[in-house]
C-alpha cells in the first residue's frame, strides 16, 4: 500500500460502500455489512451489474473525482511510454479497500463512531455530567459504559480493516509479466501502469482493463470467462484488431507505440469506445477488443494486452457499487421505541422539574437554614430547570447504551451459529452456510415472501437424459421385478456401458432395454442416436486418446450428445465441413453441408449431412409444437403414440424434444443450397429470407422419436417448498426461463399441483389484455369465494375492508403464471396494485421471462404494499438486483459464478437449507431477540423508574436511590450476561419440532413476539416492578427500626435494600424467561447474583474505605443492613409480589390461550397427530398431464461460427477445404444477434422494457 502511495498521487478511494465490508458488524446503522475478504476468501469484491439493470441498484454512473486536476474527460495512453503516461497521473493498479492506517485509525474511527446517534447522545450526557450544578451522578457512570462500547466497536473495526489490508496486499502483490524495455519482467500488480503491455497466460486473471493486442489463437481471438464480472459462465470471445494481432513476439511488441484515446473510466461493463492511433492510422476500438479486470483467460495459451484502466479506474472497481443498507424491522421498531422512551424520559424530567420548582418554592426556601441554595440558583424556577437536566442524567438508563452493543453481540452469536451449522454444510461442495451480514438474523424469522430464482436455485442446471421414445416405444422407465414402476431410490443397477471404451463414466441410465435395442441393431434406434450425435453445435476436445470432452453451449445439448456417445454413437471431432462419429466402434466421417441454426422463433435446429455413401439427409430436432406440424403425413400413427409419450414425459416435468429426419436428393439440395447462399448474401431482411428457406426444407420430415431431459431439481426442493408453504410463506418463482419450463419446474417442485382450482396464465402483450386477464382471474376467485362462503360473511367483508382482504380470503387454491412482457405492463403504476392483489391471493406465483430489473421491481412492489418481510434467493448475476432489493438476500453458492453470493446476506449451497435457515435459525433468532428486548426494556424500567418515585420523597433533588457504583455496574455487570446468554442460547422447542410444525413460524410473520403492544406490556411490568421496588421498602422502612433499636431507614440501608431486591427480582425474572437452561445460563445467572454480592461486600468493606474514604461512603452498610431480618423479609415480599403476577399471568395464558409453541412443548398427543398428517401430505404425488415444455437454453449463432471454422485450431482445419464464405464478419453477426436478444437473459426475443 505504502508503495503505491509513494509512486502515484493518492488513488481515489472507492466510494463508501465500495470497501468490502465486515463480517462482524455490531453497529447496525452505518453501512451495510458486506463480506470481508477474510471470511469469504475473496480478495476484491466485485459488486457489479450489467448496465441494463444497474438502475435497480446503483445509479448508472457517478462522476469520479480525479486526483489533482478536475474530471477526466478522455484518457490517453501510449504503449511502452511510461514517461508520457505519467504526466496524466492516472491511478495506478494498486487498489485500496482499507479505511484506516495506524495513524488515522483513532481519529477517523472515533469520528465515525460519534456519528452514531446513540454514541453522541451518551457523549452529550457525559458533558452534562461535567457541569457541577447539574451533575447528579459521577462522571464514571456514563464514561465507563461509553468507553467500553467504543472500545469494542473500535477493536472490531480494526480487525476488519486489518483483514482488508491483508487482502489488498495480497492482490496488489500478485505477479504479472510486464514488458519493460523490451524484456518481459515479473512485476507486482500494483506496479503495473497505464500504457504497459502485459502478458497473460491461460487461466490467469486479468490484472487490469486491457486492450487485447495479440494472442496465441488465430485471428487474435481469445476466450475469457467473465463469471466474476457478470456471473455468466459461458465463455466469451474477444478479438484483437487485425493490425495488432500480428504483434506476436516481444520484439515487435516492444516497438509498438500506438496511442489509445478513449472514454474516461466508467462502470459500463459492456461498452467501450476508443481509438487507437498508430502509424498515422486510426483504428476504432470497442468492447470486443477489451479484456476487463476480473476475467479469466481460458483456452488461450497466451495473449498480450495494453493497460488502459488500472486499479480503481477499472470497470470492476468502478462497479463495486454501494449497497443499500439493510435494517431489520426490529431495528426500525427499536429505534422508534427508543425515540418514544426518550420522549417519555423528557416527560418524566419535566414532571420532576416542575415538582422541584414547586418544592423549592414551598419548602426549599424555608429549608435554606440548613441547606442554602447554590450560588448559581436564585429562584425556584431556575432550580427546577437545573433539576430537569439532572433528572435527564439520572433517568437516562431507560435507554442504556448497552442495548445496542448487546443486540449486536446477540446477532453476532446467531450468525456464528449459522456458520457453524453442520446441517447446512454441503458435503459435496464442501461449503458451509455463511451469514455474510450479521445484522439481519431475526428478520429470518419473519419472512412472508420468498422470491426464488429457478435455474441453479431450484434446479441444479444439470440436464440428464432421462427417457426417450423411439419409433413409438418408450424407454427409460424402470420397472421392478413385479412390473411396477420403481420409485426413486429403489432402482436396480444402472446400465453397464463397458462395451464402449469411449463412454462417459458419469452418464447413468437405468433401462437396459434401450441398450439391448442398440446392440440388436434396431435401425430406428441407430438413426435416433445418429441424429443426436450429428445435429448439434457441440465442440469436442480430445486431450488424450479416448478422453473426450464436450464443450456444449447449453447443458441440454451436452446431455443429448453424451447420451448418444454412451449408446455407441460417439461424436468424436468436427471440422467446418465434417463431423466424425464413432458408430458402434467404427469411425464414420459425415460431410457437414449446412447447419440450420437454432433461434427462438424457429425453436428447432437442423443439420444437413452427406454420409459416406453419399446420401444427403437432414436431421432436425426441436420443440414438439413446431416439429409435429412439419412431419410427413405418413407418420400419423407413430405421431400419436409419440404424442402420448410426450405428454407423459411432460407430466413428469421433463423437457422434451422431438427428433425427425428427411432424406434429400442431390439435385434438390444443390438447388436449395443455391437459394440459401443467395438468401444469406441478401443485404436486407437476410434473416427472414433465410428463415423461409429453412422452413421450406424442414418439411415433410419423418418422425424418429422424442427425448426427455430431466432438469434436475436440487436436492430436497419439493419438500422444502412444501414445508415453507405450510409455514405460511409464499413462494414466488421469478425466472428468466421460458413459461413452459417454469411451469414444469413449478409442478415438479410441487408449487403447482393438479389439485389446484385453477392456474391463471397471463400472457397479454398489451396493457388492456393484461388488465383483462388479471380482472378475469380475480373475478373467478371472487366467484368461488362467494360460492363457498355464505353471503353474510362476504357482505361483511366487502363493507368492512378493502378488496385485498376479500381476495386473501378466497376459497380454493390458485396459481398465477405471468410472462415477462405482461409483467412489464402489470408493474406500471396504475396496475401494480391490481396485480399485487391478484398475485397475493394465489398460492403460487411464477413469473417467467423476467429481466433482472423486473425481478427487483416485483420484490419492490411486495415490499412497498405488503409491508411484509421478503427474501430473495438466487445464484446468478441476474439475481443480484433482486437479492439487493429484498429485505434478505440469499445467494446459492453453486455453479454460476459468485455474483449472487457477493451481493447476498446469507449464502449456502443448497436450496433445501433455506428451511433450516428460516424455520430453525430465523425462528430462534427472532424469538431470542424478542425475548431479549422485552426483558431488556423491562429490567431498565424497573431499575430506573425507582428514581422517579423517590423524587417525590427527596424534594425532587435528583438524589438517586442507589449507590452510584450500582448504577454504573447494573447494566454492564449485574444484569448483562444472563440476558445475553438467553439472547444467544434460548430455545423454546427443539429444532426438530420447528421443522415438524412449520406453523411455529407464524408468530414471527405476524410480528407477535415483539411489537408495540408487547413493548408496552414490558414497560408496564417494569413500572409495576419499580413501584413495588420503591414503595414496599418505603412502607417498611418508614416506621421500623433495626433489631438493636437503631434507625433502619437511613438512606444507605434503603439503597442497599432496594438494589438487592432489584437484582434478585430481575434475576428471578430472567430465570423464568430462560426456557433453555444450559450450563452457561446457570453460570451467568448464579454468577451475576454472586458477583453482585461479592462486589457489594467489597465496596462496603473497611479496607476500601480506609483507602478512599470519599469514594466508598457505604462502608459497613452491606453487613449491617443485610443482617437484618426485616430487610430480608422486605426483599422476599418484594420478590414475591413482583414475580407472582407474572407467573399467574403466564399460567393463565397457557391455559386459556396457549400458542402453538406452548402446545408443542406440552403435548405429545397433538404432536403425533400432526406428524401423521405431515407424512401423508408429503406422500401426495402428482399425476396427470399437461402439454410438453420445450426448453432449449441455447443461443443462436454458433452454427455459423462452426461453419466458418473460426473457432477451430488451424491444425484441425488443415485437411478441410476452407469454405470461402463471405463472412469474416461472423463475429459481428453473432454480436448483433446477441444484442438483439440482450433484453432477456436467456436470449429471448423480447420487447425492451419501459422505464
Amino acid at each position: 500500500m505504502a508503495l503505491c502511495a509513494k509512486k502515484r498521487p493518492p488513488a481515489p478511494v472507492p466510494p463508501r460502500g465500495a470497501a468490502p465490508s465486515e463480517p462482524l458488524r455490531p453497529r447496525t446503522d452505518r453501512q451495510t455489512a458486506r463480506p470481508s475478504p477474510a471470511q469469504t476468501g475473496i480478495m476484491t469484491v466485485p459488486k457489479e451489474m450489467p448496465e441494463k439493470w444497474a438502475r435497480a441498484g446503483a445509479p448508472p454512473s457517478w462522476s469520479r473525482k480525479k486526483p489533482s486536476w478536475g474530471t477526466e474527460e478522455e484518457r490517453r495512453a501510449r504503449a511502452n511510454d511510461r514517461e508520457y503516461n505519467e504526466k496524466f497521473q492516472y491511478a495506478s493498479n494498486c487498489i485500496k479497500t482499507s479505511k484506516y492506517n495506524i495513524l488515522t485509525f483513532l481519529p477517523v474511527n472515533l469520528f465515525e463512531q460519534f456519528q452514531e446517534v446513540a454514541n453522541t447522545y451518551f457523549l452529550f450526557l457525559l458533558i452534562l455530567q461535567l457541569i457541577p450544578q447539574i451533575s447528579s451522578l459521577s462522571w464514571f457512570t456514563t464514561i465507563v459504559p461509553l468507553v467500553l462500547v467504543l472500545t469494542i466497536t473500535a477493536v472490531k473495526d480494526a480487525t476488519d480493516d486489518y483483514f482488508r489490508h491483508k487482502s489488498d496486499n495480497q492482490v496488489n502483490n500478485r505477479q504479472s509479466q510486464v514488458l519493460i524495455n523490451g524484456i518481459l519482467q515479473q512485476e507486482q500488480w500494483m506496479n503495473v501502469c497505464v500504457g504497459d503491455i502485459i502478458k497473460l497466460e491461460n487461466n490467469q486473471f486479468v490484472a487490469a482493463d486491457l486492450l487485447l493486442l495479440s494472442s496465441s489463437e488465430p485471428h487474435g481471438l481469445c476466450y475469457i470467462e467473465t463469471a466474476e464480472l457478470d456471473g455468466e459462465t459461458n465463455m466469451k470471445v474477444r478479438q484483437a484488431i487485425p493490425v495488432t494481432s500480428e504483434l506476436g513476439d516481444i520484439s515487435k511488441l516492444a516497438k509498438f507505440d500506438g496511442e489509445v484515446i478513449c472514454e474516461p473510466p466508467n462502470n459500463k461493463l459492456d461498452k467501450f469506445s476508443g481509438t487507437l492511433y498508430w502509424k498515422e492510422n486510426k483504428f476504432p476500438l470497442s468492447n470486443q477488443n477489451m479484456l476487463l479486470r476480473g476475467c479469466v483467460l481460458r483456452n488461450t495459451e497466451w495473449c498480450f494486452g495494453l493497460v488502459i484502466f488500472a486499479g480503481p479506474d477499472t470497470k470492476l472497481m468502478q462497479n463495486s457499487g454501494r449497497t443499500k443498507f439493510k435494517r431489520t424491522s426490529i431495528d426500525r421498531l427499536m429505534n422508534t421505541l427508543v425515540l418514544w422512551i426518550f420522549g417519555f424520559l423528557v416527560c418524566m424530567g419535566v414532571i420532576l422539574a416542575i415538582g422541584n420548582a414547586i418544592w423549592e418554592h414551598e419548602v426549599g426556601t424555608r429549608f435554606q437554614v440548613y441547606l442554602p441554595w447554590d450560588e448559581a440558583v436564585d429562584s425556584a424556577f431556575f432550580s427546577g430547570f437545573l433539576s430537569f437536566w439532572s433528572y435527564i442524567i439520572i433517568l437516562n438508563t431507560v435507554v442504556p447504551i448497552s442495548l445496542y452493543v448487546s443486540v449486536e453481540v446477540i446477532r453476532l452469536g446467531h450468525s456464528y451459529f449459522i456458520n457453524w451449522d453442520k446441517k447446512m454444510f454441503c458435503m459435496k461442495k464442501r461449503t458451509p452456510a455463511e451469514a455474510r451480514t450479521t445484522t439481519l438474523n431475526e428478520e429470518l424469522g419473519q419472512v412472508e415472501y420468498i422470491f426464488s430464482d429457478k435455474t441453479g436455485t431450484l434446479t441444479q442446471n444439470i440436464m440428464v437424459f432421462n427417457k426417450c421414445s423411439i419409433n413409438g416405444r418408450s424407454y427409460g422407465d424402470v420397472f421392478d421385478v413385479l412390473g411396477h414402476k420403481a420409485e426413486l431410490g429403489e432402482r436396480p443397477e444402472p446400465v453397464d456401458f463397458s462395451f464402449n471404451p469411449l463412454a462417459d463414466k458419469k452418464f447413468l441410465f437405468w433401462d437396459p432395454t434401450l441398450l439391448e435395442a442398440v446392440k440388436m441393431g434396431d435401425p430406428h434406434t441407430h438413426e435416433f442416436f445418429r441424429l443426436l450425435s450429428l445435429c448439434h453445435t457441440v465442440m469436442s476436445e480430445e486431450k488424450s486418446e479416448g478422453e473426450l470432452y464436450y464443450k456444449a453451449q447449453s447443458p441440454d445439448e451436452g446431455a443429448l450428445v453424451t447420451a448418444a456417445r454412451n449408446f455407441g454413437f460417439v461424436f468424436r471431432s468436427r471440422t467446418p465441413t465434417t463431423i466424425t462419429v464413432h458408430e458402434m466402434g467404427t469411425a464414420i466421417t459425415y460431410q457437414l453441408l449446412a447447419i440450420l441454426d437454432f433461434n427462438n422463433i424457429r425453436k428447432r435446429m437442423s443439420v444437413i449431412v452427406r454420409n459416406p455413401e453419399g446420401k444427403i439427409r437432414l436431421y432436425c430436432k426441436g420443440a414438439d409444437t413446431i416439429l409435429l406440424d412439419r412431419l410427413h403425413h405418413s407418420t400419423q400413427e407413430l405421431l400419436n403414440t409419440t404424442t402420448d409419450h410426450l405428454n407423459e414425459y411432460a407430466g413428469e416435468g421433463l423437457r422434451t424434444l422431438v427428433l425427425a429426419y428427411k432424406d434429400l436428393d442431390e439435385e434438390y439440395y444443390e438447388e436449395w443450397a443455391g437459394r440459401r447462399l443467395q438468401a444469406s448474401l441478401a443485404q436486407d431482411s437476410r434473416d427472414d429470407r433465410l428463415a423461409s428457406v429453412y422452413e421450406e426444407v424442414e418439411s415433410d420430415m419423418m418422425l424418429l422419436g422424442a427425448t426427455a431431459i430431466e432438469d434436475k431439481l436440487q436436492q430436497g426442493v419439493p419438500e422444502t417448498i412444501a414445508l415453507l408453504t405450510l409455514a405460511n410463506i409464499k413462494i414466488w418463482v421469478l425466472t428468466g426461463d421460458k413459461q413452459e419450463t417454469a411451469v414444469n419446474i413449478g409442478y415438479s417442485c410441487k408449487m403447482l399441483t393438479d389439485d389446484m382450482t385453477e392456474v391463471f396464465i397471463v400472457t397479454g402483450h398489451t396493457v388492456l389484455e393484461v388488465r383483462e386477464e388479471l380482472r378475469k382471474a380475480r373475478e373467478k376467485m371472487m366467484d368461488s369465494s362467494r360460492a363457498v362462503g355464505n353471503g353474510f360473511t362476504y357482505q361483511e367483508k366487502v363493507s368492512s375492508s378493502r378488496l385485498t382482504s376479500v381476495l386473501e380470503a378466497v376459497a380454493g387454491e390458485y396459481a398465477l403464471v405471468i410472462n415477462g412482457h405482461s409483467l412489464a405492463h402489470a408493474l406500471e403504476a396504475d396496475m401494480e396494485l391490481e396485480f399485487l392483489e391478484t398475485a397475493c391471493a394465489c398460492k403460487a406465483v411464477i413469473c417467467c421471462r423476467v429481466t433482472p430489473l423486473q425481478k427487483a421491481q416485483v420484490v419492490e412492489l411486495v415490499k412497498k404494499y405488503k409491508k411484509a418481510v421478503t427474501l430473495a434467493i438466487g445464484d446468478g448475476a441476474n439475481d443480484v438486483s433482486m437479492i439487493k432489493t429484498a429485505h434478505i438476500g440469499v445467494g446459492i453458492s453453486g455453479q454460476e459464478g459468485i455474483q449472487a453470493v457477493l451481493a447476498s446476506d446469507y449464502s449456502f449451497s443448497q436450496f433445501k437449507f433455506l428451511q433450516r435457515l428460516l424455520l430453525v435459525h430465523g425462528r430462534w433468532s427472532y424469538l431470542r431477540m424478542c425475548k431479549f428486548l422485552c426483558y431488556f426494556f423491562y429490567k431498565n424500567f424497573a431499575f430506573t423508574m425507582v428514581h422517579f418515585w423517590f423524587g417525590f420523597f427527596c424534594g425532587f433533588s435528583a438524589q438517586t436511590v442507589y449507590d452510584q457504583y450500582f448504577i454504573t455496574l447494573y447494566n454492564i455487570v449485574y444484569t448483562s450476561l444472563p440476558v445475553l446468554a438467553m439472547g444467544v442460547f434460548d430455545q423454546d422447542v427443539p429444532e426438530q419440532r420447528s421443522m415438524e410444525y412449520p406453523k411455529l413460524y407464524e408468530p414471527g410473520q405476524l410480528n407477535l413476539l415483539f411489537n408495540k403492544r408487547e413493548f408496552f406490556i414490558c414497560i408496564a411490568q417494569g413500572i409495576y416492578t419499580s413501584v413495588l421496588m420503591f414503595f414496599i421498602p418505603y412502607g417498611v422502612f418508614a416506621e421500623a427500626t433495626r433489631d438493636d433499636g437503631t434507625q433502619l431507614a437511613d438512606y444507605q440501608s434503603f439503597a442497599v435494600t432496594v438494589a438487592t431486591s432489584l437484582v434478585i427480582v430481575v434475576s428471578v425474572q430472567i430465570g423464568l424467561d430462560t426456557g433453555y437452561w444450559t450450563a452457561i445460563n446457570h453460570f451467568f445467572i448464579w454468577g451475576s447474583l454472586a458477583v453482585y454480592f461479592a462486589i457489594l461486600f467489597a465496596m462496603h468493606s473497611n479496607g476500601l474505605f480506609d483507602m478512599f474514604p470519599n469514594q466508598f461512603q457505604f462502608v459497613g452498610n452491606a453487613q449491617n443492613t443485610l443482617a437484618q431480618p426485616t430487610v430480608w423479609l422486605t426483599i422476599v415480599l418484594t420478590t414475591v409480589v413482583c414475580i407472582m403476577p407474572v407467573v399467574a399471568f403466564r399460567f393463565l395464558r397457557l391455559n386459556l390461550k396457549p400458542d402453538l409453541s406452548d402446545t408443542v412443548r406440552y403435548t405429545q398427543l397433538v404432536r403425533k397427530k400432526q406428524k401423521a398428517q405431515h407424512r401423508c401430505m408429503r406422500r401426495v404425488g402428482r399425476t396427470g398431464s399437461r402439454r410438453s415444455g420445450y426448453a432449449f437454453s441455447h443461443q443462436e449463432g454458433f452454427g455459423e461460427l462452426i461453419m466458418s471454422g473460426k473457432n477451430m485450431r488451424l491444425s484441425s482445419l488443415a485437411l478441410s477445404s476452407f469454405t470461402t464464405r463471405s463472412s469474416s464478419s461472423w463475429i459481428e453477426s453473432l454480436r448483433r444477434k446477441k444484442s438483439d436478444s440482450a433484453s432477456s437473459p436467456s436470449g429471448g426475443a423480447e420487447k425492451p422494457l419501459k422505464g
Binding site: 442460547f985 416506621e1039 399467574a1144 412443548r1161
Partner: protein
C-alpha cells in the same frame, strides 16, 4: 475476482477444516434443562407461597402488636420555645420545656428513646453530598472539598465537622423523669452507647490522633449553627467526644425519607428500671434548641420497645397478610380455571 484460485487452493488444504466442528455449542445442542413448569408445580408453588405469606403476616402482626410505643409530638407543646428559636439571634438563650405523660402499662425489656422529625429533608442530593469523610476519619481536617455550602467559617478557617449535615445536627437534649410521686422525680437512667453502628463508630468516624482533642482541632472553626465546638460535645467521656460522639454519628447517618426517627438513648436497666419502664407518670424535660417551625417541620420524642425483628411496623405484617391472602385466592381461581379447561383439553399438561 481471485476466488477461483483461492478457493481451489483452499479446497485442497482446508477441505476438512471447512466442515464445522461437531461440538455441542456450535450445533446448539448443549445439554440443557428446559424450563417447563407444569400446572402442578405452579399451583403448588402458589399455594406454598400463599401459606408462607399468610403465616409470615400473622407472625409479624402479632409481634408488632406486642410492641409498646409512646410518641409525643412536642412542636406545639413547647410553643414558647419554638417561638424563641424562630429568631436566630436568640441562639444563646436557653429554653427548657417540660412535657408530662402517663404510662398506663409498663414497658417491658429494653426501652429505646428516639427523637423523630417530620418534614426534615436529610435526603436532598446536595445535603447528602455535603460532608467530608476524609475529615471525619481524622486524617485531614482541612479537607472540606465536598462540604459546600459550609466549607469554611467567615474568617477562612475550615469548619470541622464541615458540611450541611453536620451543621444541622439535632441538638435538643431530652431527659426523661419518672414521677414516682408528685414530689419525687427520678431521672430515668439512659445511655447513649451502642446507638450507632460499630463500623460507623470505629471505622467511619475517627478523631484526629492527638493527645489533646481541643488542640487537635486547633485551626478549625465550629459549624455556624453549633453553640460549641466539636471537641466539647461530651467533655466527660473522651470515647464519646469529637467526631466519635454517638449523637453526632447517628445524625450523620442520613435518613432516607423526610420523616424519620433516630435513636437518642437506651434505657439503662438498673434500679427501678431493671424490668423496663414501670407504669406511671413521666415527664420529658427538653432543652429546646432545634428549630423546626422555620421549615414547618415537627418533632417528637418516641419511647419504644422491640421484638425479634426490631421495631417493626404494622406495614410489613399487613403487606404479608394481604399478599398471602391474594396469592391463595389466585391459586384457587387458577386451579379452578385449570381444572375446568383440563376437561376440555385432556392432552394439555400431564
Amino acid at each position: 475476482m481471485w476466488v477461483t484460485c483461492r478457493t481451489r487452493m483452499k479446497r485442497k488444504s482446508q477441505d476438512e477444516s471447512r466442515l464445522p466442528d461437531n461440538t455441542a455449542v456450535k450445533q446448539q445442542q448443549l445439554p440443557a434443562f428446559r424450563l417447563q413448569l407444569s400446572a402442578n408445580e405452579i399451583l403448588s408453588g402458589f399455594f406454598a407461597t400463599g401459606v408462607f405469606c399468610l403465616g409470615m403476616g400473622i407472625i409479624l402482626l402479632l409481634s408488632a402488636k406486642s410492641i409498646s410505643e409512646v410518641e409525643i409530638n412536642y412542636t406545639e407543646k413547647c410553643a414558647s420555645c419554638a417561638k424563641l428559636r424562630e429568631d436566630a439571634t436568640h441562639f444563646d438563650k436557653e429554653c427548657n420545656c417540660s412535657i408530662s405523660f402517663y404510662l398506663p402499662q409498663k414497658m417491658e425489656g429494653n426501652v429505646y428513646l428516639y427523637y423523630k422529625l417530620y418534614g426534615f429533608y436529610q435526603n436532598l442530593y446536595r445535603y447528602i453530598l455535603s460532608r467530608s469523610n476524609i475529615q471525619l476519619v481524622g486524617t485531614d481536617l482541612k479537607d472540606v472539598r465536598n462540604c459546600a455550602p459550609f466549607k469554611t467559617s467567615e474568617n477562612g478557617l475550615p469548619i470541622a465537622p464541615c458540611g450541611a449535615i453536620a451543621n444541622s445536627i439535632f441538638n435538643d437534649t431530652i431527659v426523661l423523669l419518672y414521677n414516682f410521686n408528685s414530689s419525687t422525680h427520678i431521672k430515668v437512667p439512659m445511655v447513649s452507647s451502642e446507638t450507632a453502628w460499630w463500623t460507623d463508630k470505629y471505622v467511619k468516624f475517627q478523631n484526629p490522633t492527638y493527645q489533646n482533642l481541643s488542640s487537635a482541632f486547633a485551626g478549625t472553626a465550629k459549624p455556624p449553627n453549633w453553640p460549641k465546638p466539636v471537641y466539647e460535645l461530651d467533655e466527660e467521656d473522651p470515647g464519646n467526644n469529637g467526631f466519635i460522639n454517638d449523637d453526632f454519628i447517628v445524625w450523620m447517618r442520613t435518613a432516607a425519607f423526610p420523616t424519620f426517627k433516630k435513636l437518642y438513648r437506651r434505657l439503662h436497666r438498673i434500679g427501678n428500671f431493671t424490668e423496663g419502664l414501670p407504669a406511671g407518670s413521666y415527664s420529658f424535660i427538653i432543652n429546646y434548641n432545634f428549630p423546626v417551625s422555620r421549615f414547618q417541620g415537627q418533632k417528637a420524642v418516641v419511647l419504644s420497645t422491640l421484638t425479634w425483628s426490631g421495631g417493626s411496623s404494622l406495614f410489613l405484617g399487613l403487606a404479608y397478610l394481604v399478599t398471602g391472602a391474594v396469592t391463595l385466592l389466585a391459586s384457587f381461581s387458577m386451579m379452578a380455571i385449570h381444572l375446568k379447561l383440563k376437561e376440555r383439553k385432556t392432552f394439555f399438561l400431564q
